[in-house]
Symmetry: C2
Subunit: 564 residues, 2 copies
């Protein structure tokens, strides 16, 4: 089996063309000399969990953010990493394949060899199983040649999704020691990055010199937090699915007699469904987060769709397209037991029954309701990655190397300001433990237990800008058939450089702002040096007092985090 | 409802870019002067049906082929159409939408206005229903602007698929008379073109001056015969589906634990499945034609798949991709009654049961068999058309105009030599009745009845070159995972100008050869004119005698076509 991995293979014309594409690097990563600037010690977004997390990660919690800067940039405290001894790095795909994953490996490899040609990159074969069993493939130019900018995880493969049990963690530790790895890069989503943090902590505890780095690669797009704006693969998945959804919209508009119920992959969060809706403008989308927040029953949901069908029929529209994320059924408590039913078929059936009833009663006067069900699943996951995902993954690969070169452990590679052109991207690293939260579970009246600290999947933010955009357009989408067809994924010309709507409307760049804040604080310190005038000092004190007052009021208190 | 049709709409960047694409015309259609050369009277491919067809189509059977040539070409008998009075033409989408349909309309419109700006093109709204009800939209530059090179049939819509009953035919006749149409262009597949031929005959009989033209537009790709090499939409559908199939192949190779059963649209013939297999190299495909010809039972089919799974497991391969055309279940007599079951799920279930049995018995030693089912249906139909389909449809639109300008009735527009570059394409027209066959149905011992003459869907030719290519590669595809990923449909750069494998390997250009033959016969006639030497005459007689002998032997006899 292993002999199949990394084998040079025949590529189609388009694949060959793509394999020759060379992603650029943002200015901060160009050249061989990079500066690292460290920020303040990190905390967590939810202070109530900070204590539990700090107890679980004594060696890796509270580390500072790191920003990678051009060698020429004028930052007083930044360190220049000048020593680049040969290092040995392992890399492993964890969890579900996501378009662009190969480019992370290519990025690490390029950075590694650029700084020291004697460095070695080992890929673990068959995912975490290969990590436990010490099955590796040395990454070389030849191995990479037909995998650059290509989809899938077939360069290395993947099997099991977790590194969680004591046995698994010990096996990983044994491998890293046996192979004398200086670094281990884990490519994956929320679960895999939680595992990466745990490994980092265990390795530190065991005085194993291997540093662990996580890379946010998951097509679900749910590894989002103040430090991470987007995940590798999400852009591609949304583009491929939006193409198909908009094709179905065109179909609906041509035939004018069908309602299409389209189920999209994604269990816990509805990011893909939201983004695809913003790209292709189907008539309706139902997000798991909406159901959970407004406690909709299956009956409510059916009624909502039926009312929409009826309203459209009154305008002589007897067709439509409705998106359903796979996970919505899980959000409806009453049907937990029915999980084996396909969501789209269940809903289509319930709507059909209700529409027939209304037709009989005479409350609905439109044409007979016809539903066609579709599941858009595995056909997007193996796609050639979009230009954005190629670039983002490649840059993350480089960042991973610099994290290791800086000797950091338990960090995730971050690239921010992604909605701007690549030459404005900011590269950095954040401790994975700073992205963790702790869940509280009610176990009856007055009794609750708390879960293990983990990087949890981010739900769609129902107060966020992307969702607001959807709400603003919901009626127009529902009634006016303003279907938008972004067309098939392009690599040249119009459409090739578009980014997800979510990324573009969200006002993120948290890492950029944290850095900016630090600059302001430094400026105040510089201006108000001992020896400055009494007036300047008074003004500074007064201004800073009101700033701290305001911030104290609006910040969530951390006093609630009593140890359990 | 009607007010929605032809409305200018907002296009995505890629759609805008595509709407500016201007297909070229082959040399024979350039300029305003076109010559028409008529060939010999046509017969049908199956001589046994010729008599029935000639009886059913007394006014339109046996008409000659027509070839459109450059005004400057040196063909003695060709006519130049110099008169281009203003004409009124109607156009209607019949049957299922197929990518590229809009460009046929654009082509007709451009040719019409080029030859006489006072000509009028009327589009029927809502398909044949609009034709019966005289609901039209005048096609103008404004109407076309956002529909050029775009997918779907939403410029005009479509509803019912047929023009068959006496009532329907009379309604169509009344419309053409009321609107004073000189021509009616019917865009569709086998059924719609059969209807077009019937309308042409009825109109001729009724002395209605409207000439009827058919255009081969169907994504099934089953309107194939000696005159028609390809159908508008087939190229796009196969490219979109091949992209998705190859994505699933990449997925299978990355995860290494699933068998994907993918059902493709297409009831009667398996052209799409064959072409997609040649483009994306999945492990296995089962064609309806294979099942029908070798009378495979469901048990045979299950065993065949199970043996393949077992053979792969012996090489440590526990994943795979299997394509199933929608129609294969209909080809298996024993399960006619089970038609409500989805093909891919039925087969996946049967294979799983058998593999579990083998596992228990110890004859299969691989991993537990896991199937994932997919249906690739409506998501391809609404796609932006490929460059090939845009070009082909646009040229067919022009040809349709020239057929009407030449006063021909009951013809289909043809463009041949399609596998060569566009500047070598040949344009012509063939009587639709020449593409018809008559089916014989057995009604018990010694009793048979014959069906109505019709253009029947062409099955995949199991003796043809495309199928041969599949057979040659079947073992490699099955065992070696030589998956090929043509990538998403591109409009620029590598892959943008590829044509279907089927088209490229098939050695068609029947129309070109018929013309070449005529040239040879003319040459002989010219060389052996009365007054030539006795020796030349003797040589010609001897050579032609042996030619006719050979042809008589290899041609199917037409003596069997006794009138019924």
């Amino acid at each position: 089996m292993d002999s199949d991995f990394g084998v040079e293979r025949e590529l189609s014309d388009l694949q060959k063309h793509r394999s020759l594409y060379q992603p650029e690097l943002p200015p901060c990563l160009q050249g061989t000399t990079i500066r690292v600037e460290f920020g303040d010690a990190t905390t967590t977004a939810d202070p109530s969990g900070a204590h539990s997390i700090s107890r679980a990660f004594p060696h890796t919690y509270g580390q500072p953010l790191a920003h990678f800067l051009r060698a020429t940039s004028q930052v007083p405290d930044a360190q220049i990493i000048t020593e680049h001894p040969p290092i040995r790095v392992g890399v492993v795909f964890c969890g579900r394949q996501s378009p662009g994953g190969h480019n992370v490996i290519w990025g690490i490899y390029t950075a590694l060899k650029l700084h020291n040609p004697n460095s070695i990159l080992l890929g673990f074969l068959g995912g975490s199983e290969g990590l436990f069993a010490q099955k590796t493939l040395e990454i070389t130019d030849d191995v990479l040649s037909t995998y650059k900018n290509q989809g899938g995880y077939d360069l290395l493969g993947r099997t099991k999704d977790q590194i969680k049990t004591t046995e698994q963690v010990n096996a990983a530790l044994a491998t890293c020691k046996a192979l004398k790895l200086d670094g281990l890069v884990i490519i994956g989503g929320v679960t895999s990055n939680t595992d990466a943090a745990q490994l980092a902590e265990t390795f530190a505890e065991a005085k194993c010199p291997t540093k662990v780095v996580g890379v946010p690669v998951t097509l679900n797009g749910d590894l989002k937090n103040q430090f991470v704006e987007a995940n590798v693969g999400f852009d591609t998945i949304c583009k491929v699915n939006s193409q198909l959804i908009s094709n179905v919209c065109t179909d609906a508009l041509s035939a004018e007699k069908y309602y299409y119920f389209i189920r999209l992959m994604g269990r816990k969060a509805s990011h893909v469904a939201l983004e695809c809706t913003l790209q292709s403008h189907p008539n309706m989308v139902i997000l798991g987060e909406e159901i959970a927040s407004s406690k909709l029953t299956l009956f409510d949901l059916t009624k909502q769709i039926c009312d929409a069908v009826q309203a459209r029929a009154e305008q002589d529209k007897n067709h439509g397209v409705i998106l359903l994320p796979e996970g919505i059924i899980e959000s409806i408590p009453e049907v937990y037991a029915l999980l084996q039913i396909e969501t789209e078929k269940l809903l289509a059936h319930l709507v059909e029954t209700e529409m027939n009833k209304r037709l009989k009663e005479g409350t609905y006067k439109g044409k007979k309701f016809n539903a066609i069900c579709h599941f858009f699943g595995y056909q997007a996951r193996g796609s050639l990655p979009s230009k954005f995902d190629c670039d983002y993954a490649y840059v993350l690969g480089h960042v991973s190397y610099h994290i290791l070169a800086a000797g950091l452990n338990g960090y995730m590679a971050t690239v921010t300001n992604l909605k701007s052109p690549l030459n404005k991207w900011r590269c950095g690293a954040a401790p994975i433990s700073a992205m963790m939260t702790v869940k509280r579970y009610s176990r009856g009246p007055g009794i609750s237990s708390i879960g293990k600290p983990a990087v949890h999947p981010a739900a769609v933010d129902l107060t966020g800008k992307a969702y607001e955009l959807l709400r603003q357009n919901a009626t127009k989408f529902l009634m006016d058939d303003v279907y938008r067809n972004p067309g098939p994924l392009q690599f040249d010309g119009p459409g090739a450089d578009t980014k997800t709507v979510t990324l573009c409307v969200e006002d993120q760049d948290y890492m950029g702002r944290i850095k900016k804040l630090q600059e302001y604080l430094d400026k105040v310190r510089n201006i108000v040096k001992p020896g400055c005038s009494q007036d300047v000092l008074k003004a500074a004190l007064s201004a800073m007092a009101s700033v701290t007052d305001i911030l104290s009021v609006i910040s969530p208190s951390s006093t609630g985090s009593t140890p359990v």
